[in-house]
């Protein structure tokens, strides 16, 4: 199926932790993203799910190059994102856009909506003022807002409308990849569906590729072709939507899935309730990071880190149980 649009290889991001003694650098670090590998094919939607703090936003910011990885390689259309010069980075950024988590905080309160949507064009020197204005009106229409609203300020809009404005801005430069970092988690449930439908429509209309981040498997289900499950900075399972939903291999994925409310009271579902809290990303437990909370924990899990093992084609999970089944 051709070449991947984005490849992420062995990427790590460790934030240094401020030591308790002033001026003495501590050797500890937050392993926000730890050895992550995946790829995204053109036109598909890759979902990234995981609990709060597992490193989803950090991963998004890495791909977007708002921050630099501690280690690893990222290729976008066969161009290395890590070693790009400042100027090349600007051109690549035209092609990778991002919709942030908080629709309220991601619009400058002192700018009119029209100016905000126009800004990417101004930054990259595209078109003259007349053609830019035309593009702004067109974009507002595309995301389902009245072009007349372009002289208003962001605070005059509701959360859902603001996220539409954010989406319009992300579309301005005709990008190929849009990273959506929990684009609907700050919105009402009724509005969530509208925004998700809009994203789906836009994908069809403009052949977009999405990385769709969420902590909610329920939301991801409507959007994604493939899903990656993250736990404590690592991808613990990745596979197609069907594989992940119907035959999850990792106990963590199984637990997340069992937490989705059943659709009818007659449906019988066994719930796996996770005990304990997410361990600290500063000092993750040895072996499998999940072993302290895993209902199927074995001795091996406490010492050996399981690798990502391919179960079926394009479905991989990192769990010692998988080997056992096959043997």
């Amino acid at each position: 199926m051709g070449h991947p649009l984005l490849e992420v290889k062995q990427v790590k991001k460790h934030f240094p932790v401020k030591g308790t003694i002033p001026f003495v650098p501590s050797r500890q670090s937050v392993k926000a993203v730890d050895n992550v590998n995946f790829h995204v094919m053109p036109g598909e939607t890759l979902g990234i799910v995981g609990e709060s703090g597992c490193g989803k936003s950090t991963l998004a910011r890495l791909i977007n190059r708002l921050i630099s990885p501690t280690e690893g390689e990222m290729n976008f259309k066969n161009k290395d994102l890590v070693s790009l010069s400042k100027r090349d980075l600007r051109t690549v950024r035209k092609n990778i856009q991002m919709v942030f988590q908080d629709p309220y905080a991601s619009l400058d309160p002192r700018k009119r909506v029209g100016q905000l949507i126009e800004e990417p064009l101004v930054i990259h020197g595209v078109g003259d003022s007349v053609s830019r204005k035309r593009r702004v009106a067109e974009l507002l229409e595309i995301v389902g807002l009245n072009p007349r609203y372009q002289n208003r300020y962001a605070h005059e809009f509701s959360g859902g409308q603001r996220q539409r404005i954010n989406i319009a801005r992300a579309l301005t430069l005709n990008p190929e990849l849009i990273i959506c970092d929990e684009p609907v988690s700050a919105l009402d449930v009724s509005v969530q569906a509208q925004v998700i439908n809009l994203l789906k429509d836009l994908q069809k209309q403009f052949q977009l590729t999405y990385i769709f981040i969420s902590h909610d498997l329920n939301v991801v289900r409507y959007m994604c072709d493939r899903i990656a499950v993250m736990y404590l900075g690592k991808i613990v399972e990745i596979g197609s939507y069907e594989e992940i939903y119907h035959s999850p291999k990792h106990p963590y994925t199984q637990a997340l899935l069992s937490a989705i409310p059943v659709e009818s009271p007659y449906e019988n579902k066994e719930r796996i309730i996770l005990t304990g809290n997410v361990p600290s990303p500063i000092a993750p437990p040895p072996g499998c990071a999940f072993h302290e909370r895993c209902p199927f924990v074995m001795d091996k899990c406490k010492t050996e880190t399981p690798p990502l093992i391919e179960t079926t084609e394009a479905h991989r999970a990192s769990c010692h149980l998988i080997k056992k089944e096959e043997e």
């Binding site: 910011r61 977007n64 190059r65 708002l66 980075l89 600007r90 051109t91 950024r93 035209k94 856009q97 991002m98 942030f100 988590q101 908080d102 905080a105 991601s106 619009l107 400058d108 309160p109 002192r110 700018k111 800004e119 990417p120 930054i123 990259h124 389902g144 807002l145 009245n146 609203y149 605070h155 005059e156 809009f157 509701s158 859902g160 409308q161 539409r164 954010n166 801005r169 009724s190 509005v191 509208q194």
Partner: protein, 299 residues
């Protein structure tokens, strides 16, 4: 299709919207505060006085007359009397407004421009640059404001331009601090990250997003700083370090008046009152400005 979607309905109707906008307009909020309105009014009067001083003054401000020294108010056609050289006090007060306003505004503009620039660089880039700039500012702040101005005046020598420079320089650290603090909070906002991810350069981010969002507290601080600068000018002139002697300045008038407190108390009182009312009005206005600029306050 647009008028009927659910999301559109959430928006205020056009009419309602316009009315609400008018209700909350900045000037309205500001002038609803009676004290701020008073301050604003006095400031307007002051500005007009300074501009039209030659037409308002009854005598040339430097004109001496040894036969008419130390006259009381109303005597021999002198509205507020005369000083020890026989110069008309009313006319000198009117011309003094010019000096006060010019020094107040120019010194603050000077301090605000350089202080904000340093504050933005410090706050936005952080690290070593921040440490260096802010330590220098701290060093300047360690001097009492007026002491710093006095030191600078002794170095520069007397004169209007030098007064402006001295007070302007003394104002730099204050502005740098206010702006830096504001920039530190603004630069963490998501919309700054968004703009960077769009490919914007630092200059664009600073001038189009960081500064406009830091401006409200800056305006309030600047207003108060004008009042402070007027007092500083008066203090310097009072100490004989301000504008050149024949020039009428409220501070130098106060200084001359203090020798005749028994014989002719109006002289010191009037110039002192001019300073007091001006500074009070500016501060009242500044207070109102702060409230009006705060979007969360709907008086």
């Amino acid at each position: 299709m647009h008028n009927e979607t659910a999301s559109d309905r959430e928006l205020l109707y056009e009419e309602q919207y316009k009315r609400a906008q008018k209700e909350q307009s900045f000037m309205r909020k500001l002038l609803r505060n009676k004290l701020a309105a008073f301050g604003f009014f006095v400031m307007i009067v002051l500005v007009f006085t300074a501009i039209f001083a030659p037409w308002i003054a009854t005598h040339p401000p430097h004109q001496m007359d040894v036969t008419r020294t130390l006259l009381g108010p109303g005597e021999m056609g002198h509205l507020l009397g005369t000083d020890s050289y026989g110069r008309d006090t009313f006319s000198r007060i009117i011309y003094g407004a010019r000096i006060s306003l010019i020094v107040g505004v120019a010194a603050v503009v000077f301090g605000a421009v350089f202080g904000s620039l340093l504050g933005v660089i410090s706050g936005y880039f952080g690290g070593k640059i921040d440490a260096i700039i802010m330590r220098i500012m701290d060093g300047m702040m360690a001097f009492p404001f007026i002491l710093l101005a006095i030191v600078l005046m002794t170095v520069f020598g007397q004169g209007l331009m030098n007064v402006i420079f001295a007070i302007g320089i003394a104002n730099i650290p204050g502005f740098a601090r206010v702006v830096r603090g504001q920039v530190l909070s603004v630069k963490e906002a998501d919309y700054i990250d968004v703009t960077r991810s769009l490919g914007a350069k630092n200059t664009r981010i600073i001038f189009h997003h960081v500064l406009p969002n830091s401006i409200a507290p800056l305006i309030v601080y600047a207003t108060m700083a004008v009042a402070g600068a007027i007092i500083s000018e008066a203090s310097l002139s009072f100490l004989g370090l301000g504008v050149q002697p024949p020039t009428a300045s409220w501070g130098s008038m106060l200084q001359e008046g203090k020798d005749y407190l028994v014989l002719n108390p109006e002289l010191a009182t009037i110039s002192g009152l001019a300073i007091l009312i001006t500074v009070l009005s500016i501060n009242l206005f500044g207070d109102g400005l702060r409230d009006a600029l705060d979007p969360k306050m709907k008086i």
